[in-house]
């Protein structure tokens, strides 16, 4: 018996009613899409497995129209069926929940989001067509509406402060789609020797009215949105503060949850101080280490592959996806919980992670960790600690000091020649710090690694 079922009180009428309106909104959006498709998409030949003989030409729009009609029916049945929400049938089916729950874990999440990221780049000309974008939008919205029918999912996603994150996902998704669409179009134009999108219609126009009116409309729309948002959703206010009652989980504000997620893999001095500082310094250093003069003032991918892949990898899988993980999938005791799983405070997760020093001395050498005699002088104690952690220290030193010249001689050879010593060293170190998170993740999952260097005596764990 899966635990989430027991805790799953049935749907409430207000949820079903609200979902009805969402489906109606989807219906209206798709009705507009049918109209567009009818004008642009042309016909497709259907034979229905020989049922129609050689096949029949039908407009693509008619397929969308069928989907659209189904959305209308689903929407209306939600609105009429909300009286008896307990027995309402249109909900996330168990045969979908179970495999999603079973497959969910931090490894799958990170590997999955990285795979999607790579696929996004490789297939950038495929998924940036309007139709593909529309299909993706519909899929994600249907996944969301269906998932809302699950009690545990609703508890987490529906928290007032979590709603902006759901919005952010769609907005970031949309703008990533838009940027890739423009980039591929520009790259195509460049290859064909045609002027870029940004070079067409680039005459000077008067700021009044062209820009001033856009700004005015933007301000009105944003104001209206904020007020509507404020009316629909009340700002959160929990119990009065009490230093005696620690909530479990205790979470930082949502935009810092990517950093809080790093605490799983690094100690606070790294995850909370060093790495955030490196992120900020790294961001500020970007204009000074990017020597590529191309791609100034237009969207492109081919002309700035390295820069765009690096930045996007940092922003999408390592920042946005980590926020999603930290917000929606980390429950009590910062344990991982699947999307449709009850946040059980008593869930136990085995912590059998080991340090590099333990692995070396216990497994390889077959002896106890070296410990200084309790009455030893300070230099002796330090000597013992260094002896105990020698392998980890060597590894970290090699990572930070041997890799940059090694990379300069191999993969980054061209960069090194063009950038000069100082710029290159900044770039190499920023890359190494950025990759330290995924590297530590993989080591944790593959080898149960806790710390590479573990010197708790000095609060120095890496």
């Amino acid at each position: 018996m899966e635990s989430h079922l027991q805790h799953n009180p049935d749907l409430t009428s207000s949820v079903v009613f609200g979902l009805g309106w969402v489906y109606l909104l989807l219906f209206v959006m798709n009705a507009a899409w049918v109209r567009r498709s009818f004008a642009l998409d042309g016909n497709v030949r259907l034979s229905l497995g020989g049922l129609l003989g050689k096949g029949q030409e039908i407009p693509v729009a008619s397929l969308w129209a069928i989907y659209c009609a189904m959305l209308l029916m689903v929407g209306v049945s939600h609105l009429t069926g909300s009286d008896n929400a307990q027995s309402f049938l249109l909900r996330m089916p168990e045969f979908l929940k179970a495999p999603i729950n079973a497959a969910s874990n931090p490894v799958a999440f990170f590997v999955g989001s990285t795979t999607i990221f790579i696929a996004m780049i490789v297939f950038r000309s495929v998924w940036t067509t309007p139709t593909a974008g529309w299909v993706l939008l519909n899929f994600s919205l249907l996944f969301m509406t269906l998932s809302i029918t699950d009690y545990d999912f609703r508890q987490i996603v529906g928290k007032p402060d979590n709603v902006p994150i759901v919005g952010m996902l769609y907005i970031v998704g949309f703008f990533t789609w838009l940027a890739f669409k423009k980039s591929t179009e520009n790259d195509r134009r460049r290859a064909a020797g045609k002027p870029l999108i940004e070079q067409e219609n680039n005459e000077k126009v008067l700021t009044w009215p062209d820009l001033v009116y856009t700004e005015l409309i933007c301000m009105v729309v944003i104001t209206a949105l904020l007020i509507a948002w404020g009316i629909v959703l009340q700002a959160p206010l929990e119990e009065p503060a009490s230093a005696a009652k620690t909530p479990n989980p205790s979470k930082a504000p949502w935009y810092f949850l990517g950093l809080q997620e790093m605490l799983v893999y690094f100690d606070p001095w790294m995850a909370g101080v060093v790495l955030p500082s490196v992120i900020l310094v790294g961001l500020m250093a970007i204009p000074y280490i990017d020597f590529n003069k191309l791609g100034n003032g237009y969207y492109t991918f081919n002309e700035r592959k390295f820069a765009i892949i690096t930045f996007m990898f940092g922003f999408l899988p390592l920042w946005v996806a980590m926020i999603v993980l930290g917000t929606f999938l980390r429950g009590p005791n910062w344990n991982f919980f699947s999307p449709y799983e009850y946040w059980d405070v008593h869930k136990l997760e085995l912590l059998n992670n080991i340090n590099v020093s333990e692995w070396f001395w216990l497994s390889v050498m077959g002896q106890q960790l070296p410990v200084a005699p309790s009455d030893a002088a300070l230099p002796v104690k330090i000597g013992y600690i260094l002896l105990r952690e020698w392998l980890g220290l060597v590894l970290v030193a090699a990572y930070l000091f041997a890799l940059p010249p090694l990379m300069a001689a191999t993969v980054f050879r061209k960069f090194f020649m063009k950038m000069g010593f100082l710029r290159y060293m900044v770039l190499a170190n920023l890359m190494l710090f950025m990759m330290s998170l995924p590297i530590k993740m993989v080591l944790r999952w593959a080898a149960n690694l806790k710390y590479i260097v573990a010197i708790p005596e000095w609060f120095f764990n890496i």
Binding site: P164, F175, T207, W208, I222, L226, I227, G297
Partner: protein, 257 residues
């Protein structure tokens, strides 16, 4: 003569606006030069620099949200008192009984939205290569503004003084005690001692400086309130002014000169 013409012909109107309505080319140019708020803009601008699908309008929206936050924030300051006795109850009253208590909702959702629009603004600037020469330094100022936006949001998070607030700030500020050398649980802090006396203790480290105490307390509330309402907004305003000024001096939002 219609009433409208009478008003527009009056000395008061002319003293304020100086020029006829921007209905013809000449006055559309002049209005940009003689109006304080409009003079942030150039008189004319490249079409691509204002195409929505190119700019996403995210920088502009971020600035507008900053204004919304300032206005709603000032209104909230009339009502809210940052003390243990009143803080929570004032927020409760804003929710339940105060006329226009929705200002708190607008303020909070505007803050979340502002964090997101700052990220998207940076995303767009990066993807269009708009940080490239001659705009390198403006990108640096932009990163500082990102940090300050996050700090504004973080300091504001504490003010409702509910469970969500103090524990989020506790979790966030716990990081400070692990600051290398400056946090009492940070690597290297033990080295800073004179004659056996530790300089960095839980009563003198980076976290203590941030919180005004060893844990999130009334002193923290006061500290964060001042940071949130006065100190950070002042710095942000200055940096925004420089940011905008540099956009003009560097030749628009994007593209080589």
């Amino acid at each position: 003569m219609s009433v409208g013409d009478y008003i527009r012909g009056s000395q008061i109107w002319k003293s304020i606006f100086r020029h006829p309505a921007p209905v013809d080319r000449r006055n559309r140019i002049v209005v940009m030069l003689t109006n304080f708020f409009l003079h942030l803009h150039p008189v004319s601008i490249k079409q691509q620099g204002i195409a929505l699908s190119y700019t996403w309008c995210m920088g502009g929206i971020t600035f507008f949200l900053f204004l919304v936050e300032t206005i709603t924030g000032v209104l909230l300051m009339f009502y809210y008192r940052p003390t243990l006795q009143f803080a929570f109850n004032d927020i409760l009253a804003l929710r339940d009984v105060t006329t226009l208590g929705i200002m708190r909702e607008v303020h909070r959702w505007g803050a979340h939205a502002m964090v997101i629009t700052v990220w998207l603004h940076m995303y767009r600037v990066f993807l269009t290569g708009s940080y490239k020469p001659p705009r390198e330094f403006n990108w640096v100022i932009g990163v500082l503004l990102l940090v300050l936006t996050l700090l504004l949001s973080f300091t504001g998070y504490l003010l409702p003084w509910d469970q969500l607030a103090i524990w989020a700030i506790t979790v966030g500020s716990n990081m400070a005690r692990a600051t290398p050398f400056l946090g009492y649980e940070g690597p290297g802090a033990q080295l800073l001692n004179i004659g056996g006396y530790d300089l960095i203790t839980s009563g003198s480290d980076a976290r203590f400086l941030l919180l005004g105490g060893r844990f999130v307390s009334e002193a923290t509330l006061n500290r964060f309130y001042i940071l949130h309402c006065v100190a950070i907004p002042l710095v942000v305003s200055l940096l925004i002014a420089i940011h905008f000024w540099r956009v003009r001096k560097d030749g628009g939002i994007s593209q080589p000169l």
